[in-house]
């Protein structure tokens, strides 16, 4: 007998599979890079929480964060690494598969 679609959730990438992080990564998947302010807009998180998520994603090798100054104003930009892009795309494929199997299973 086929396993339920939910049994596949066990193998899902836990670093990506968190609501705020999935939103951040989905936004980054759709662009070359995004600034910190945009990711705040996407998630509605506080600056501290967003920084913490970005740190985890950077440590996990999914995201590259660059910082700099334009005059006296500092900026922080994030982009997916090559590995990050592949993993997030694969994650989305898994999610779509689980969703369609869940629909068929009902």
């Amino acid at each position: 007998m086929d396993a339920t679609p939910f049994s596949q959730l066990a193998s899902i990438d836990r670093l990506i599979h968190e609501p705020s992080r999935l939103a951040i990564l989905s936004a980054l998947l759709a662009c070359a890079e995004a600034d910190f302010q945009y990711l705040l807009s996407v998630t509605g998180l506080s600056k501290g929480n967003l920084s913490s998520h970005l740190y985890k994603l950077e440590t996990g090798g999914l995201v590259e964060v660059t910082k700099g100054f334009e005059g006296k104003i500092s900026w922080t930009r994030s982009r997916l690494t090559i590995e990050g892009r592949e993993r997030v795309e694969a994650h989305w494929r898994d999610l779509q598969r689980i969703r369609s199997k869940a629909k068929a299973w009902r």
């Binding site: 968190e18 939103a23 759709a30 662009c31 070359a32 807009s41 996407v42």
Partner: protein
């Protein structure tokens, strides 16, 4: 760790679609173009205004529309910026410039020069609007309503006794009003998807 719900997955999919097409979802940028369309429709329906007065009015409205678009775009500076993926929408741009726009303007030209019992502009512009919605991230069901209204214009020559240019004028008036509302609704829907805006 917070559990991911179906709603979170849906929202992340929308975030991806909006980010990929951010410029188009920032509706307030384009809101001034609706009144410009309406003014064009009004002026072209009033030949008694004289050519020079109409030209001045149209040029002024186009300049004001362009300036307003630029100024209203600044509203979105506070929400941050993204840099698009190079070459992400090449196919869409090609289809738009070499297929959709030529068909739209051919239909418009035919309706103005050789009016038929049906208004070709109605059906072709409705189809173009649906293609626009689909190719810029879906959602925004108000475009389906506006497309249905435009499509209904296809049969307008059968029920209204207006010549081609006047019928196009009415269509532009309705489209201008609809465009203004749609641009405002785009902004609202974008703000719903992006929780921190």
């Amino acid at each position: 760790m917070a559990e991911l719900t179906m709603h979170d997955i849906e929202r992340s999919g929308q975030v991806r679609a909006v980010t990929d097409n951010l410029f188009f979802w920032q509706g307030l940028r384009f809101i001034a173009l609706g009144p410009v369309m309406m003014l064009i429709a009004y002026v072209t329906a009033r030949p008694e205004m004289g050519e020079s007065a109409s030209t001045i009015l149209l040029l002024t409205s186009l300049i004001l529309g362009t300036v307003a678009t630029h100024v209203l775009g600044k509203v979105y500076q506070a929400m941050g910026t993204v840099q698009s993926t190079p070459g992400a929408h090449v196919r869409r741009s090609r289809l738009k410039w070499f297929f959709v726009y030529p068909i739209m303007f051919t239909a418009l030209g035919l309706d103005l020069a050789y009016p038929l019992p049906v208004l070709l502009t109605g059906v072709t512009w409705a189809a173009a609007l649906i293609a626009y919605r689909r190719s810029t991230g879906g959602g925004r069901n108000h475009y389906l309503v506006l497309a249905a209204v435009l499509a209904a214009f296809t049969f307008a020559p059968m029920v209204a006794d207006l010549d081609g240019p006047r019928m196009i004028g009415v269509l532009m008036l309705v489209l201008g009003a609809g465009f203004t509302v749609a641009a405002w609704l785009d902004d609202k829907e974008m703000r719903r998807v992006l929780q921190g805006v």
